[in-house]
């Protein structure tokens, strides 16, 4: 083995005594390889994360002017235009029949009902003052439920709860996928004419909103609600009875309401 001068001057190379020493691992080339791979991993992950978050946040800026694509704005406006809303109640105060809906804004069946049956009931009964509908929002599915519900209740302070509820259902995402982002809610708010979206966003954590949520949850418990959507129906101001339906289509609701109106 050829010895270099430097090594020859050192009497003992301790690590080389027992084993054949391999080439030192910390060569410049290895350091470079490690650095390049590490940098590529880091840059790739960070870059993808930033791009991904931008995509979700739709523009990224926190301004509130940017809106995600929200479908159904004009339809919902057309459906609910000029119908009185107070808090969670849609319709005239003196409407003879009251329908209470227990719902979770993430529940797909609630969305089915909201998109199929609710418009029929609004057009046929609420608009002419014969029915009032009260929304009691629950948030048992997950965090997205609560985020959306808080926004809806906050919009209720401006008399726009049902608009927000209907738009959330129209644009409902997959359960607990994190679809209810601030940008989503801001976009929903912006799609409701006459609603101050910033005010709605600010009011989401208000004590009134939390109180309304707790009230609805307590009412659901005392009414024995075990799933959503669940309904109560009865004469306004009188005893409301659970309405058991075999399907969420409008027919059974119509029949039950007609019976109360006729009787």
């Amino acid at each position: 083995m050829a010895r270099r001068k430097k090594q020859a001057r050192v009497p003992v190379a301790p690590r080389a005594t027992t084993r054949q020493q391999s080439a030192p691992l910390l060569t410049r080339r290895r350091v470079l390889v490690v650095a390049v791979i590490a940098a590529a991993v880091a840059v790739g992950l960070v870059g993808a994360s930033i791009l991904s978050a931008r995509g979700d946040g739709d523009g990224g800026g926190g301004g509130g002017g940017e809106t995600a694509a929200i479908a159904g704005g004009p339809d919902v406006e057309l459906l609910l235009e000029d119908i009185p809303q107070e808090g969670a109640v849609l319709g005239e105060d003196d409407a003879p029949v009251t329908l209470v809906e227990y719902a979770d804004l993430q529940c797909p069946f609630c969305a089915d009902w909201a998109l199929q049956t609710f418009p029929v009931l609004v057009a046929d009964y609420v608009r002419d003052g014969r029915l009032r509908i009260e929304f009691r929002g629950l948030s048992f599915i997950g965090e997205d439920s609560e985020e959306a519900l808080r926004a809806a209740l906050a919009a209720g302070e401006q008399g726009k709860l049902w608009n927000v509820v209907d738009l959330v259902y129209t644009n409902q995402g997959a359960e607990n996928s994190g679809w209810v982002t601030d940008d989503f809610l801001r976009a929903v708010g912006a799609a409701v004419p006459g609603l101050d979206a910033d005010r709605m966003m600010d009011a989401r954590d208000a004590a009134e909103v939390t109180a309304a949520m707790e009230e609805a949850a307590a009412a659901a418990q005392s009414d024995g609600v075990s799933g959503t959507p669940s309904f109560l129906l009865g004469p306004t101001g009188g005893d409301l009875e659970p309405l058991a339906v075999s399907s969420l289509g409008p027919e059974e609701f119509r029949a039950a309401i007609d019976e109360l109106l006729g009787g």
Partner: protein
Amino acid sequence: MSDRALRIAVGVLALAGTGIAAYLTYTKYADATIACATGGCETVQDSEYAEILGLPVPVLGLVGYLAIFATAWFAGDTARVAGAALALGGLAFSVYLIFVQVFAIEAYCQWCLASDAVMALLAVATVARLRRPSAT
């Protein structure tokens, strides 16, 4: 510390990281509540930074830790280089994620921070491995 000892250290740390990532992956998909002393875990997990191109960050962590664990299994030079590169890349990404928690999400997730600590230790151990002579 011998290469063998470092390999064991890397393996144990990588398993700890795998455990953390697996727990967070589980809570993500099962929608279970995260045991969270810092209070911000759900906020972090539900933030727009919690997924990268549709893939939850904990899943990426899981893959990363398992890959580093695999490098501890082998004694060869390629494994050492790959281990150090992955751990250093992972550490850089962890630092980025800490910044995201502090400045973008403004909430902290103890599991994420624990994972960051594990990744930092892994970076130290895998780099130390690079400096050791080969065992074979």
